[in-house]
Amino acid sequence: MKKLINTPESVLADALAGIDAAHPDLKVDHVNRVIYRAEPTRAGKVALISGGGSGHEPLHGGFVGFGMLDAACAGEVFTSPTPDQMQEATKVADSGAGVLHIVKNYTGDVMNFEMAAEMAEAETGVKVASVVVNDDVAVQDSLFTAGRRGVGLTVFLEKIVGAAAEEGQDLAAVTALAHRVNDSGRSMGLALTSCTVPAAGKPTFDLPDDMMEIGVGIHGEPGRHREKLADAASIAKQLVDPILSDMDFTGSPAIVMLNGMGGTPQIELYIMYNEVAKLLEAAGITVARNLVGDYITSLDMAGCSVTILKADEEMLKLWDAPVNTAGLRWGV
């Protein structure tokens, strides 16, 4: 295992120290492992809290700041944070207007956030709402299982709903919007290589030199199936087709993300974006906004994912609203 770390055990603490050192706009609680905005939540503003296992940076800590999250709880690598972290973040970030928990749909994340909400409401009476993001079309038969996973759409949701909260929308409105965004987007990813979890010390899965893993999860969970490595145009089809056959994206402006998994260089992401854009144009879908880059990663995995949101005018307006975070910044 080749990594720029001190020890597998200290990965999270060291990374949080680095985030703290690098970003004066953020405040890091190293005991509870929570990243906050340096400024406390404005009175009357709904607080947005997310969190999850580490290893997906910039998600979530990189999206704390004006126009997005108020706090992010960092778990161990690929392990959901614990309810006490979330409860602490909920208490600290609440300005009295209530808190929205943004949860990616994994059993651990859902259960830990549920316990946190129960504990926070019981202890302090803070109003907690939650949205569980589940956009990954790679998971099939999701009705009979833990359901679809939450992946790239989380970034869009945090941006759009964050702007709504910044505008002063109340908890009910912010929560309704969050559900609307979740219902309007889908994602699909693939890997060329496995990631290596520091504590495991070796790749989570072996992938032969000529194979790729289609529908991989952001924690290195194996995907739908494997097949021979193909060219960018065919790979783009493998990502876009399952999304378009799951939902109709025509007739509304789309926001599209071509996301890198952490080990893929930008030049390849642009090559992939080109192929995806061609497919969407051929399918009659108008791309109104886009992101190309590493936004929700899987440690050092090589690969990429596509997220498409069927936006409406409100979502587009909120997308364009100012945002000032380490991972997304414009308009300020």
């Binding site: 259960m111 099939q140 899965f205």
Partner: protein, 213 residues
């Protein structure tokens, strides 16, 4: 020596032995989790049980409920992932069921663990055959109850429970997962033993080791 109760000290020894087992088998648990999950179950259990044993040393409990509730809270606040809330709830509910006593007889221990398992089901909605820790714990508790009802001592009940847990664990291998992270794999989850069922079996291994030594 044949006994019919489990003392506070034995519970502590059990937990400490469980810590040793998951620590020894950390890589194996992670390997199982690599195949159908995210390669962290070994670290999660090792971190959690390490914290538990440390906590026990730092703040000794004088009653079974106090001990087990503290174990549950420590797991909830140190593990995360799916295992944290599930194992945490198991011990929290176990403590509530056991009450402020200093020892448990076979029936009470079985009832406490059963209350713990009910808590796991309340949180995680797992059913038999979903390929989770439930598939090891549930048959183990059935075997425990039957042994105790049939007049076995604690040691015999523990080895019956262990045998049933092992069988339940091994039986997860061909299953297609319907809960947790492995469920995303669909058919590809078959052919692998469930990591949580494996760590749960160590709970019974630790018990058998503790009450027979």
């Amino acid at each position: 020596m044949s006994t019919s109760t489990i003392s506070l000290d034995q519970l502590i020894a059990w937990l400490s032995r469980f810590r040793d087992l998951v620590t020894e088998k950390k890589s194996y648990l992670t390997e199982l989790d690599s195949a159908i999950g995210d390669a962290d179950h070994g670290s999660n259990m090792t971190r959690g049980m390490g914290a538990v044993v440390e906590k026990i040393g730092a703040a000794p409990s004088t009653a079974v409920d106090e001990l087990l509730k503290s174990v549950g809270m420590t797991l909830v606040t140190s593990v995360g992932g799916a295992a944290g809330p599930l194992y945490g709830t198991l011990f929290l509910r176990m403590g509530v069921s056991a009450g402020p006593v200093t020892e448990l007889d076979g029936a009470a221990f079985g009832a406490a663990l059963r209350a713990g398992l009910d808590g796991v089901v309340a949180r995680g909605k797992a059913e038999a055959g979903d390929k989770t820790m439930f598939d090891a714990i549930d048959p183990a508790l059935d075997a425990w109850d039957a042994a105790v009802a049939g007049g076995s001592d604690i040691a015999a009940a523990a080895s019956a429970a262990l045998a049933a847990a092992e069988k339940g664990r091994d039986a997860t291998e061909p299953l297609v997962a319907r809960k947790g992270r492995a469920s995303y794999l669909g058919e590809r989850s078959a052919g692998h033993i469930d990591p949580g069922a494996t760590s749960s079996t160590m709970l019974f291994q630790a018990l058998a080791d503790t009450v027979t030594s």
